[in-house]
Amino acid sequence: MSTVYHDTQIENAKVALDAVGVTYGSKTAVSGVSLRIPDRSVTAFIGPSGCGKSTVLRTINRMNDTIDIARVSGSVKIDGEEINSKSVDPVVLRARVGMVFQKPNPFPKSIYDNIAYGPRIHGLASGKSELDAIVETSLKKAGLWNEVADRLDQPGTSLSGGQQQRLVIARAIAVSPEVILMDEPCSALDPIATAKIEELIDELRENYCIIIVTHSMAQAARVSQMTAFFHLGDLVEYGPTEAIFTNPRDQRTQDYITGRFG
């Protein structure tokens, strides 16, 4: 099925998907997904459950590699470089492409170690003071520093849900990623914690390419500049968020965002 693309020039594409398909065994989860995602902006993937939006998100840091029966076809490029080629180390790739999940998943370690873990294994800090600096700037960027500065040695799991989510965002930032994938990052949070994450996303947009899967259409409308609508494994429509929410071209997009899905 062909995708409706709005007439928008994306000059600074960070991530480019071309005819991406994913199958789990004999079941096709998504097929023929092509889109160019701009850098330093937020792109939202929306669609009903099972439409393939998370599956597509997971092709961007090769998370589908971890599922034995999953097969990915087509091309996924970051800065023009094919990430599915054998020469790309998925571990290094996942440092470049960070990921935040639905439920906050801090390591059962101190707040400090949660952040320091990535930089340590990737050898990003040459000494304790440098590591301290990375921990501090990451927590600051994630808007958590003021709340945890005096208790960095406490377990990450002792924080509230919203704080834990900002902690794992700080952890993703600590390894200096270029792309941050977020899979329903606010669905387990209350409205205030959600607002804080949304504010954080808006700030992070200045430096990163952010792709967010969300079930909340209002959230997609609030935080993103581009929106992709998926349905039954197809990318139905892709364009500027404002256009998608005021004047969608495809009937299915229309029905979904107005709450008329049969």
Partner: protein, 242 residues
């Protein structure tokens, strides 16, 4: 996508998953249609009142305009409620915005009809004016234009909306020629200055109603296509050369 497909897409809705939301939207467009019906009657009645020199009908127009004002307030409340509680999107968003703006345009048209009705009493104090029939012709065109835009709104017809926009040029032309003719009357016979001025006000009010009708047609265009349609008004401003 062709305009026909667009139209089909916008009028051929699935029902809302949340039924009460769909019902509220339906109710909103029904209210706008009902308000439109009332305003259409007012415009046609105020014209009748002037033509037939019927002071009682004029009074009834002035009285019924209050109902129009009340309807606008009701629609406004309904729109605020929809935004606060439902956060309408896409066509629903456009429909809600259009209902709000169209009700405002209709309220203005109601005021202009009331204004014309007020002229009626004054006109009745002097001899029947020779220009009455030209004003009548202009009035009929304005009423049919209003009828057309309201129909465009209810039926979701882009063609009707566009045709109504075109009518506006015709109305402006008639107004311009009326203006010149009335000036001639006044210059020829100073005794006609008072009724001619009243007639001129009537014609001016009709011309303004035509503008509001056009604004409604533009909103209908927006609801159906999602595209803005603002004409370059300076090109068709009837007072430009006068």
């Amino acid at each position: 996508m062709s305009s026909d497909e667009r139209q089909a897409m916008n009028t051929n809705f699935q029902t809302h998953t949340v039924k009460s939301f769909g019902e509220e939207l339906d109710r909103l467009s029904d209210d706008v249609a009902r308000m439109g019906g009332l305003v259409e009657t007012l415009v046609s009645d105020c014209l009748q009142a002037v033509m037939r020199r019927d002071g009682d009908l004029a009074d009834s127009v002035i009285e019924r305009d209050r109902q129009v004002d009340q309807m606008e307030r009701d629609i406004e409340k309904r729109v605020i409620r929809l935004f606060a509680l439902r956060q309408p999107m896409a066509t629903d968003l456009r429909m809600t915005i259009a209902a709000y703006r169209i009700s405002h345009e209709l309220e203005r048209i109601g005021d202009l009809a009331k204004n014309i009705a007020r002229r009626c009493r004054v006109l009745n104090e002097s001899e029947p004016h020779e220009m009455t029939r030209s004003v009548d012709r202009m009035g009929r065109l304005v009423v049919s234009q209003l009828h057309e835009v309201l129909n465009a709104f209810s039926a979701g017809s882009l063609d009707d909306a566009h045709s109504a926009m075109k009518t506006d040029d015709e109305i402006d032309e008639i107004y311009n020629s009326l203006f010149r003719e009335l000036l001639t009357y006044m210059m020829e016979d100073a005794r006609t200055i008072s009724p001619s001025t009243q007639m001129l006000f009537v014609a001016k009010n009709l011309e303004r109603i035509g503008d509001h009708n056009t604004n409604i047609a533009e909103m209908v265009h927006y609801v159906l296509t999602g595209e803005d349609w603002r004409r370059d008004r300076s090109m068709s401003d009837p007072d430009r050369e006068s």
